[in-house]
Symmetry: C2
Subunit: 293 residues, 2 copies
């Protein structure tokens, strides 16, 4: 297939690479051209705009930062939907607003095009390994057509329902991740302060009822003092903000989510936005009444 | 080996059963005699007190409800330490206070006996399957002697450090479990209220960055409306109380733990104490500003 690819962040670059490897034609656009350099060396063609990436492609895929970027990429002046021969299917894999997904679905439909919201989970590890969980909202026929692409990028590919259902499922995912990260941070603080060997503790707690992806994948990074982004705090603050607004819209009060969201916002405000989500440890550590023994 | 076994709750009964199967002699005592009936049918010998269970045994193991029960079982008038020929090793597998573990260690040492704190994680599933994670505090020589017993009961057996280190590790475990459960409950509420199919959502989120033991094992029970205890809310309130007190003693403020503990206490006060920890869903659901659409 000929694929227009928009977004070469931590996730996007790995994902587009898998499509190249699988023999698909990729025309790539991203805000910072340098980030596309490796893909271009490997055979991707540079495009000066989302429109140019999407022009005459079979499918255009976006995975960018914020809902406003998603809107610009597809509805903007040089967006995918302004192409002369737009793709039959647009896929947005950014974690974004369910309502925006519905709006993009409607705007695409007005041009006879299918739109799928298909955010992912699994972090940089999953993007590199092609083992992402892909949560899809939109029409079943479009999902079936795009299946070969999803199968290359993901290990778990599930059509969750109509437009927006992918984004709503991703919110569920982030509610879980936020809780898991709060637990992991507090567990690390306790283990360290209690004089235990945190790595040995980890060996005990990962295999039982406390086990989680966060524990197995991000706590080791915390213990190594590695706070580099698999997933940016800036982006997680965005995700949790979406989750909070959507919960409110549904009349739900989710106190665990609210607590985690407020800490992540604080972490961003303290300048940790470009660190990985595991850097929440640094904030909560600094907030302790007595830091250090 | 000849083993004195004290405690036939959800966990204890399965665990003692594995020792019988493996050919060990088991003398069993528990507060409610009827709960030992199945074990006695399978070859265990009934004992009228912890002392009687421990008399002339190689090892005595307790897994009971609360720290005060642990204290009574070992230090009480008819406790294990009052035996004429006490075992060389006492093992407490109850989740209990680290300080009590240290006190029992000292009391046992005064009689030339080793004491190990060895709480477990993995729930009823792990107890039945012999796959528990066992977190051990105490002297290395005693751990080595008791290893054959631990190997029958657990899949992950780790000596975490000196007296109390097993209990402190278990606190880390429960901090993680509490966070995980808060996340799971809020995720289920969101998924349901957002009109998604929660089982299909589960298929998407268990394999990615949101994955956890809680999600795979307890959320399906929530969705089936099964709130029966794998692990009692009453006991979890005890565990979280221990965690809160120990964190405070270490000068730690853990807001996620505090939030979960307050909800679990509320759940117990609302009469959910004999339900499983997954019944937290019922409380948080009932607390919603609008319940149901």
């Amino acid at each position: 297939m000929q694929i227009g690819w928009i977004g070469c962040g931590v996730m996007g670059a790995s994902m587009a690479g898998h499509l190249l490897e699988a023999g698909h034609g990729v025309r790539v656009h991203t805000r910072t051209r340098a980030k596309a350099a490796t893909l271009v060396e490997r055979g991707a063609v540079w495009a000066d705009s989302p429109r140019e990436a999407a022009e005459s492609a079979d499918v255009a895929v976006s995975i960018v930062g914020y809902p406003e970027d998603v809107e610009m990429v597809h509805l903007g002046e040089t967006g995918t939907l302004s192409a002369d021969h737009p793709p039959r299917i647009l896929i947005d894999m950014t974690t974004s607003e369910p309502d925006l997904a519905v709006r993009l679905h409607d705007a695409a439909a007005a041009r006879g095009i299918s739109f799928l919201d298909a955010p992912v989970s699994g972090g940089d590890v999953g993007a590199r390994g092609g083992t992402l969980s892909i949560m899809i909202g939109g029409e079943a026929t479009a999902v079936a057509t795009a299946q070969p692409i999803f199968d290359i990028l993901g290990g778990t590919v599930i059509h969750q329902g109509g437009p927006g259902a992918g984004q709503r499922t991703k919110i569920v995912n982030q509610v879980l991740v936020a809780a898991s990260m709060m637990g992991a941070v507090e567990a690390v603080l306790f283990a360290t302060r209690a004089g235990l060997d945190p790595r040995r503790v980890l060996d005990s707690v990962t295999t039982g009822a406390a086990g989680s992806w966060t524990l197995s994948n991000l706590v080791p990074r915390m213990l190594d003092g590695d706070f580099e982004p698999g997933f940016f705090i800036d982006h997680f603050v965005k995700d949790l903000g979406i989750a909070i607004r959507e919960a409110r819209r549904l009349g739900l009060d989710l106190p665990g989510l609210a607590l985690a969201e407020s800490f992540y916002r604080e972490a961003r405000d303290e300048g940790l936005g470009a660190k990985g989500t595991q850097a929440l440890l640094l904030l909560i550590e600094a907030r302790q009444p007595r830091s250090g023994e």
